[in-house]
């Protein structure tokens, strides 16, 4: 229950410790600037250069993710974008899910989805083999020994 305080009750001084809400606010702006560069670069290379979306297949991704530059680029994209998006969704949950239980469930779901997808995505980037053994030679990147 919300209790209404008597008029002129002095403002509660904030508890000591890290001001997470402030750092979240700063994170949205700092990551936002980086994401403009990272995502515009991602869209330019994947959707604008060459045949755009029609060129994307396993061999295309294999070629990109065998280059350390794109591994770092995609890792930054994954972490920065997912945390930025989840924190933005947290803002909406706080604005619209006024029931305590609903609010809690939605925020736990956001946290769970974020952690699972960051772990999954990071594992995919760093355990990915562009030339998997036994793969169809016509589907892998041209630099693979089995490619034809």
């Amino acid at each position: 229950m919300t209790t209404i305080q008597a008029p002129r009750t002095p403002a509660v001084t904030r508890r000591r410790g890290v001001n997470w809400e402030k750092w979240g606010w700063i994170y949205m702006r700092a990551s936002g600037v980086l994401l403009v560069v990272l995502i515009f670069g991602h869209l330019f290379v994947n959707l604008w250069v060459g045949d755009g979306i029609k060129a994307i297949d396993f061999a295309f991704v294999g070629g990109k993710l065998s280059d350390p530059f794109w591994k770092v680029w995609d890792t930054l994209l994954l972490w920065l974008a997912l945390i930025h998006g989840a924190n933005g969704m947290r803002t909406l949950v706080n604005d619209y899910a006024t029931k305590r239980l609903t609010n809690g469930i939605l925020k736990w779901a956001l946290l769970l989805a974020t952690v699972i997808l960051i772990v999954l995505g990071t594992l995919v980037i760093y355990t990915f083999d562009p030339c998997p053994a036994g793969a169809d030679p016509s589907l892998v990147a041209s630099f693979c020994p089995v490619a034809n």
Binding site: L35, W48, G85, L92, F128
Partner: protein, 143 residues
């Protein structure tokens, strides 16, 4: 100090239909600031749900080349191709309007110019989409 301007109820607006009332422009609601906020939220939610799906579909490169190609192939049909114009449109708006928000927060003249900055965002969005949409749609429909 002048009276607070944000608290006038709708019914108390001066009854001037043709001319802009004295209150117009002092209220946040219904103006550029509100619409940029609404669009920022809607595009943000749309991009977030796409991102969830996009991480999962890209994770299929770790399964087999066939599995990844099957799913990415669905992104290449004409209906999804049109959807991608919408997705990129949402991302480009969210990106430029996000930079506008940063200017409003940190630039000393940002709040004074927030309205004009919104039209700068729209202008940059149009230019970017003119560079993207025709080229992307040609790729989708002609290859």
């Amino acid at each position: 100090m002048s009276a607070p301007t944000g608290t006038l109820a709708e019914g108390h607006r001066p009854a001037q239909k043709k001319k802009k009332s004295a209150v117009a422009g002092t209220l946040y609601r219904g103006n550029e600031g509100m619409w940029s906020w609404v669009l920022h939220r809607i595009t943000g939610v749309a991009i977030f749900f796409f991102l969830l799906v996009h991480i999962l579909d890209t994770a299929l490169i770790r399964v087999t080349p066939e599995a990844y190609n099957a799913v990415i192939g669905t992104y290449q049909n004409p209906i999804m191709g049109i959807g991608e114009v919408g997705l990129v449109g949402a991302i480009v708006f969210h990106a430029f309007n996000g930079l506008r928000i940063i200017l409003v927060d940190y630039w000393s003249k940002g709040t004074a110019y927030q309205k004009y900055l919104f039209y700068v965002v729209i202008g940059l969005w149009v230019v970017t989409m003119l560079a993207f949409a025709p080229r992307h749609l040609i790729n989708v429909f002609s290859h």
